[in-house]
């Protein structure tokens, strides 16, 4: 756990989700803390996306989710949206909006139906563009960008909300190695800047390299919630993922490399 870690801003207790009568997430308990990047790992079908959507308030769930002292279920949609930014899988953009307009959508939770764009909104958008290095193509239609550029724009949109909690579902999927590092670095920066960041990550190496804490999910249950070294031990990875890993030490950080199936 990082030395700068603060108090829990989001606390989930006994969260369970059933979809179509089937339990997808069972009795999940976890806390997201200020200044921490928490990675959520687990095999396909473990229930990671469902857990993240439940934490974002997008799915009805049993149990209790408390954000900043308020019960998530009791928050009106707009107030919930001001507190939790959510980055779904896939970076979908249906219309060729200019990048700056897409990022400005992150300010939607702060706008009244009839209010104009405020100075705060402009500053937040400019900051998100600068942080993600997307200001260079702010005026380009978002649909003309490459996958790596789109991922940064999607992240900028989520950052522009300036919510205390950021939930990201597989933000590095289908990105080249450099952009994987860029995006993970941005998520860690967002945590260091005072946020609580929770990201679904498939790449165990990236999780070990960037996360302050790793939560491991298997068959709908949280089976580990600890430091990367502890959560991603060779034995646990073998048990959860069914793969044998090599632990490689790079610059003092021990990272697991998936080697062969067991």
């Amino acid at each position: 756990m990082s030395a700068t870690a603060g108090n829990a801003i989001l606390q989930a207790t006994g969260v369970s989700v059933r979809l179509g009568g089937r339990p997808i997430v069972s009795d999940a308990c976890l806390a997201l803390r200020v200044n921490e990047l928490t990675a959520l790992v687990g095999p396909n079908g473990a229930g990671k996306t469902t857990l993240v959507r439940a934490l974002a308030g997008l799915l009805p769930s049993e149990g209790r989710i408390v954000i900043g002292g308020r019960d998530l279920a009791s928050l009106p949609p707009r107030e919930r949206a001001q507190r939790i930014a959510y980055l779904p899988q896939g970076n979908v953009f249906h219309w060729p909006l200019p990048v700056a307009d897409v990022v400005a959508l992150g300010r939607h939770p702060h706008a009244d139906p009839f209010s104009r764009v405020s100075g705060d909104d402009r500053a937040a958008v400019a900051r998100a563009l600068a942080l993600t290095g997307t200001e260079g193509f702010a005026d380009r239609p978002v649909t003309t960008l490459s996958g790596g550029e789109r991922a940064r724009v999607a992240l900028a949109r989520a950052l522009a909300t300036q919510a205390p909690v950021l939930l990201a579902d597989e933000p590095t999927v289908s990105l080249d190695p450099r952009h994987q590092l860029v995006v993970m670095g941005l998520l860690r920066d967002a945590a260091r800047a005072g946020g609580a960041v929770f990201a679904v990550v498939h790449d165990l190496t990236l999780a070990a390299r960037f996360a302050d804490r790793v939560v491991v999910m298997d068959q709908g249950r949280i089976v580990a919630d600890a430091t990367p070294a502890e959560a991603l031990s060779t034995e646990r990875i073998a048990a959860v993922f069914g793969v044998e890993t090599m632990a490689v030490s790079i610059g003092g950080v021990s990272v697991p490399v998936a080697w062969r199936e067991i």
Binding site: R78, A85, P96, L97, P113
Partner: protein, 344 residues
């Protein structure tokens, strides 16, 4: 960024389109069996004296106002549906909304359940449109894929078509059948202020429901999950758009018969100026729809349908479909790569 410059250019576009609508409305007041000069038309409109006064105020003014209001309603309904479904091919007529409204309204008229200027006619039209648009949005569901949306729309349109065929089939007299058939083709001929009055309250309600959600259409560009995470209440907005489209289309069909494709063409035409932002498209699309339908209604009066019988006009719905369908095909052709992608 450059939002101030953009607001300025949006305002200029809205002003220009509004000026075009007003100019077309004046031309519409001048057009018809009795040739009036602009001066005569305006004199008739403002002082209401003599034959010009009666022609302009009693015959042409309600017709012109209906063209403007119905065109605006279809333009806005198209823009709103396209925003909700994130799909530039969405249009009330493709989903069978006017056809379904026709079943309701034509049934009312054919069986003499209500007079043509009774509130029961738009209410029946609205009920029909509500069923088709509501069913479509329910079936298209969360993902709203292009293929599912268009297939479901096709099914609703065909079903509604069968419904109108049934009403024609069972029409009490051949005259009634002919009357319904003509009415179905869509026309603003001989519409009075009574027609205007039964439709206007529904139009206004429709504009409010559809216009209030403009910002949410923009958020939906990120997909439903992301929009919901930004505070958009998806169930509420779906309900508002379904009811808004049904109110507008149902009332329009009840007074003017089936008029299609304005909702497809109008938003598309204004995108070249305002871009793809579904929120910024709404108002210009409404004005463009008003201009298009007013122009089409002038055209049906200027093009003689039958030189031997000058009183018979081309039907308005025929003209909008003749122009709209090739336009739609051209759009499908241009978007075919996108369509192929979403079919997989």
């Amino acid at each position: 960024m450059n939002s101030n410059a953009r607001t300025g250019s949006d305002l200029r576009l809205v002003a220009a389109l509004a000026a075009i609508v007003v100019a077309l409305a004046v031309v519409s007041l001048m057009s018809g069996a009795a040739n009036l000069t602009p001066r005569q038309a305006l004199a008739g409109l403002f002082n209401g004296q003599g034959a010009e006064g009666i022609i302009v105020r009693e015959i042409r003014l309600p017709r012109t106002l209906l063209a403007v209001l119905i065109g605006a309603t279809f333009g806005l309904a198209g823009a709103a549906l396209q925003g909700l479904l994130r799909n530039p091919l969405a249009e009330p007529a493709l989903f069978g909304a006017p056809q379904a409204a026709s079943v309701g309204a034509a049934g009312m008229i054919a069986y003499g359940l209500a007079g043509a200027t009774s509130f029961a006619v738009p209410l029946a039209g609205i009920a029909g449109a509500l069923l088709s648009v509501g069913g479509l949005v329910a079936i298209a569901g969360r993902r709203a894929s292009l293929t599912v949306t268009l297939l479901a729309g096709l099914a609703f349109a065909s079903f509604a078509g069968a419904g109108t065929a049934l009403i024609l089939n069972l029409a009490p007299t051949p005259y009634a059948a002919l009357e319904i058939a003509f009415w179905l083709l869509g026309s603003l001929e001989d519409r009075s202020f009574d027609h205007l009055m039964i439709a206007v309250p529904f139009f206004i309600a429709s504009w409010i429901l559809l216009g209030l959600n403009a910002r949410s259409y923009r958020a939906l560009t990120l997909g439903e999950d992301a929009a919901a995470s930004l505070g958009v209440d998806l169930n509420r907005i779906r309900m508002m758009v379904v009811i808004g489209v049904a109110l507008g289309v149902g009332a329009a069909v009840a007074v003017a018969g089936s008029i299609g494709f304005i909702g497809l063409v109008a938003p598309h035409l204004v995108r070249r100026w305002v871009g793809s932002d579904p929120a910024r498209v709404c108002l210009p699309a409404a004005l463009m729809g008003a201009a298009l339908l007013t122009a089409a209604d002038i055209a049906v009066r200027l093009i003689p349908a039958n030189p031997n019988a000058t009183s018979i006009e081309l039907k308005l719905g025929v003209v909008t479909a003749l122009i709209g369908v090739p336009f739609f095909l051209a759009m499908i052709f241009r978007e075919r790569r996108l369509l192929e992608g979403s079919a997989s």
